[in-house]
Amino acid sequence: MSSLATVFNRKENAATLVETCSVRLENGLFGVPIRHILEIVGRARPQPVPLAPSYVGGLVHYRGDVLTTVSLRQLLDMPPLDGPQDILVLEGVLEGSGGCFGLLVDSVGEVLTVSSADHEPNPSILDERRRALFAGAYKLKDSLLVMLDAERLDPIRLDALPLAAAQAA
């Protein structure tokens, strides 16, 4: 609610509004622009894939196809979570039916409308890897909403990601 109020207050400033789906990971709040989201699959237990790259969260069954998921926890070097997780089904970089992939998060929250006036670019203090994954942050009233770069999360692109941090995992 508080965020909505923020939005209303700022509406006059001719700033563009972005509808963002908020997701939770531990205590962090992240956002994915809803135009990238095809569907939300709740409470899924992905099937692990032995020998897959570490960022692969496993496979889930999605509309007659098998969907590869990317684990946000793994990408951010957090310990894996036991139990079911929510999945955002995102449009892939490649067009066509087989192009989509899933983003595995702890839970999916509400849709927030944020204003570009509150947006700040990635701080330079972030490591290279996070700078690649994040697309700045929105200042909410009581917290920060870290935007994820949906296109960079596509498994096809993740291979090219600086993996310095992932080696530890």
Partner: protein, 770 residues
């Protein structure tokens, strides 16, 4: 490049027109006077010409126009369709095809010149003495081409194809028509046509087909197939969930039935008759036999047999290879044939039929057959096998050598074959889609090549195995047997060279791959002495190894789902599937596992052994027997012929007259019950019996047995004082055991009207595929 709707429509229609033209042209050679055929060809070309006009494809229009003129004269009876004219028309068709292809890929006609072809078409009109009448039109059509130097034209014409100079076209030369192509279906059609008005009958046929059919994008069909697969899985889960609720039973039964029907319909929608690829063959046979100086009659049967579209595409090349091989190596030149007392005209038979869940395509010639001694010598010469090894191989095993990469018996490399890329390509391509290739040859009598293709690709039988606390699917195609090693035996049964695990499989060392260690290197794994070990003996691309898993579940028909690129790159999985219990399972790729684990065919010697093993499995000459008990007596069934062992209720057995038969997945299986096993069970319909399903030639037979005892190696027995092998018995576990004579099981006669097909390969009556 994106084509507009109109152009795409035009391309599809033109392709269909040209396909029809190709069929008609090959028939035309047989019956040059058939006005209906000429009319058909004329219409095809005319339609192309008409449409190109307003689409603005000038090059295509010019060529089609030149062809139309020639066809017009044929139609008016001013010319007769002799050899050179047919050749010219075929070249016209090729020319049109290649321009259409260019339009499809580049959205333009390309910059090629058709002057030579157009002039040839013009020259072909010459004998009819009506040039004057057509001259003005031609002048337009020829455009700039007419200025070309005359001798140069002729030169080019000669280079492009074996067409005689214009002077010779007056009289149809006797040796031009070396091929007579007889397609059975075509003959039938001709019969009908001769009764009534050909043109009308054809036109009517075409009209109704166009009204009742619809073009559907293949990707849409794929999507439908996918969704149906999904529906099947959802149904499975609903059936499980509602099993205990009587109120829902009726509804879920209904859902079950509708889903099954829907799945069948969608599968059917993807089916296409094999005539789609068979129809290309007359042309190939015609061209090749002219080039090679052979006389060949092509017979085709079972063109209505249907196959999944993607599979049909996949066997197109192997089949073409096989036909080329038959013409080049199989059927001899006419003089050789006459010298051998055969009809100078060879016969090449293409036969398609459905056998259970497979489609069998036979390429059968009555040529020289494969000389096994020649094969032996060549294989040694090319270093594919050692001389000692070759000396030990029997005829059957030698035949399998032709499938080795790099093999060819052709003395000279021609541009048809002889480069040694023939049969192994056929074999690999067919095996890639889960099929099998069998070869059968008799010196002097001919060769039969049999391609066994599964009906569909999207659904394959697989064994579900467990490892690292997950389920994996292992395609049945690569699986040859399963061995169970309980924990207490693991210490002795699994032997080690350094850190390489091996298992003695009937005296031969089989390399083992532990799936858990492969999938989770460095993980903590239970020692094999602490758990049950199941060895799945796999044969992948000639590499034999045992995959050790923790557990086995039932075999399942799985729907193959593609994996994303990032998971495909791991190189171990060929796809994923959803099991009946809604669990996801990765499909293991046996070939990739062998590569990853370093199982290779290291030496030539080993290759020879692979071949030997291959033949044992395929040829039925194996010395391995399945030991069964039939009413207190022991009997042996050659293991290579055993397809599967079924345990079923005795009530499943039905009778035709006195003959017990089994309706197995819609197929009739004669059951041999010489031991009276069925009678012994009596009238209790719930009693379980065991039926060993065997392959016998082209058919399958069942043998009712009391128990299945063991698998054992048998050895030949010789009659005392002679060196004659005793037939029908073998020495199994040092006991003389009778071998079940599968050939002796009489075929089932469903009724008098069932046509029995004559199988050349084994010279027995077999059931026509129903």
């Amino acid at each position: 490049m994106a084509l507009d709707e109109l152009t795409r429509e035009f391309l599809i229609e033109s392709q269909e027109g040209l396909d029809r033209m190709e069929r008609c042209l090959t028939e035309l050679e047989e019956r040059p006077q058939d006005a209906g055929l000429i009319g058909d060809i004329f219409r095809s070309v005319h339609t192309i010409k008409g449409t190109t006009g307003f689409l603005g494809f000038k090059r295509l229009e010019k060529l089609a126009h030149a062809g139309e003129n020639l066809l017009g004269m044929l139609r008016e009876g001013k010319l007769t369709a002799d050899g050179p004219i047919t050749t010219g028309l075929l070249q016209l068709m090729d020319g049109l095809r290649s321009i259409l292809k260019t339009i499809e890929t580049e959205d333009s006609e390309g910059a090629g010149e058709d002057t030579a072809l157009i002039e040839r078409l013009e020259e072909l009109q010459a004998p009819a003495q009506v040039q004057v009448q057509y001259a003005p039109v031609l002048a337009v059509a020829l455009h700039g081409g007419a200025t070309a130097d005359a001798s140069q034209q002729e030169d080019q014409a000669l280079r492009n194809g074996a067409i005689p100079p214009p002077a010779f076209t007056d009289a149809p030369s006797p040796e031009t028509s070396t091929v007579a192509i007889v397609a059975e279906a075509v003959l039938e059609k001709a019969q009908v046509a001769s009764d009534g008005d050909t043109g009308k009958a054809r036109a009517q046929g075409a009209g109704t087909a166009a009204e009742s059919t619809l073009r559907v994008d293949v990707s849409l069909l794929n999507r439908m197939m996918n969704l149906v697969g999904e529906l099947v899985l959802t149904r499975n889960q609903i059936l499980q969930a509602t099993a205990s609720d009587p109120g829902l039973t009726l509804l879920s039964r209904r859902l079950d039935m509708v889903t099954a029907d829907l799945r069948e319909s969608v599968m059917k929608a993807r089916m296409q008759p094999v005539s789609n690829i068979f129809s290309k063959m007359p042309r190939i046979v015609r061209d090749l036999s002219q080039m090679l100086g052979r006389k060949v009659r092509l017979q085709m049967e079972g063109q209505d047999t249907e196959l999944d579209k993607s599979l049909l595409e996949a066997i197109k090349d192997p089949l073409t290879h096989a036909v080329r091989n038959s013409l080049d190596h199989g059927i001899e030149p006419p003089d050789v044939r006459v010298a051998a007392g055969k009809d100078p005209e060879g016969t090449l038979r293409l036969r398609a039929m459905q056998e259970g869940s497979h489609v069998v395509i036979e390429v059968c010639d009555d040529g020289a057959g494969i000389g096994v001694e020649k094969v032996r010598a060549k294989a040694v010469e090319r270093g594919l096998i050692t001389a000692e090894r070759a000396a030990q191989l029997v005829e059957r095993e030698l035949l399998q050598l032709v499938f080795l990469p790099g093999f060819s018996t052709a003395a000279a490399v021609t541009n048809v074959s002889g480069r040694g890329v023939g049969m192994d390509v056929v074999k690999t391509n067919v095996e890639k889609i889960g099929g099998k290739v069998e070869i059968d040859s008799r010196p002097g009598q001919g060769t039969t090549l049999r391609l066994r293709i599964p009906l569909t690709l999207a659904i394959i039988p697989a064994l579900i195995v467990h490892s690292v606390e997950q389920s994996f699917a292992l395609p049945q195609g690569a699986l040859s047997e399963l061995v169970h090693i309980p924990p207490e035996q693991a210490a002795t049964a699994i032997e080690w060279i350094e850190d390489v695990p091996l298992y003695r499989l009937r005296g031969k060392l089989l390399p083992l791959v532990f799936l858990d260690r492969l999938l989770m290197p460095g993980g903590a794994h239970k020692a094999s002495t602490e758990k049950d070990n199941f060895i799945a003996v796999l044969n992948a691309d000639g590499r034999q190894f045992g995959l050790v898993v923790d557990g086995l579940a039932d075999p399942e028909e799985i729907v193959v789902k593609p994996l994303s690129a990032v998971l495909k790159n791991i190189g171990l999985y060929s796809g994923a599937t959803v099991l009946g219990n809604a669990e996801l399972a990765l499909i293991l790729d046996p070939g990739a596992i062998a590569l990853k684990a370093g199982v290779t065919m290291s030496s030539l010697e080993q290759k020879g052994r692979e071949v030997e093993q291959g033949t044992e499995a395929e040829a039925g000459k194996s010395l391995e027997y399945l030991l069964v008990e039939v009413a207190d007596r022991r009997a042996a069934v050659p293991l290579a012929d055993v397809l599967r062992i079924e345990q079923l209720k005795v009530s499943r057995i039905e009778y035709i007259g006195y003959r017990p038969v089994l309706n197995f997945e819609g197929q009739l299986l004669p059951v041999e019950d010489s031991g009276g096993v069925l009678a012994a069970v009596g009238s209790n319909p719930e009693a379980q019996i065991i039926v060993v399903v065997c392959r016998e030639g082209n058919r399958q037979v069942g043998i009712a047995v009391s128990h299945v005892l063991d698998v054992a190696a048998g050895s030949d027995l010789f009659e005392a004082g002679t060196s004659t092998r005793a037939g029908g018995v073998t020495l199994l576990k040092s006991r003389v055991t009778g071998v079940v004579d599968l050939g002796g099981v009489p075929p089932v006669r469903v009724d008098e009207g069932t046509p029995a097909a004559w199988s050349q390969s084994n010279g027995e009556l077999v059931e026509a595929a129903r």
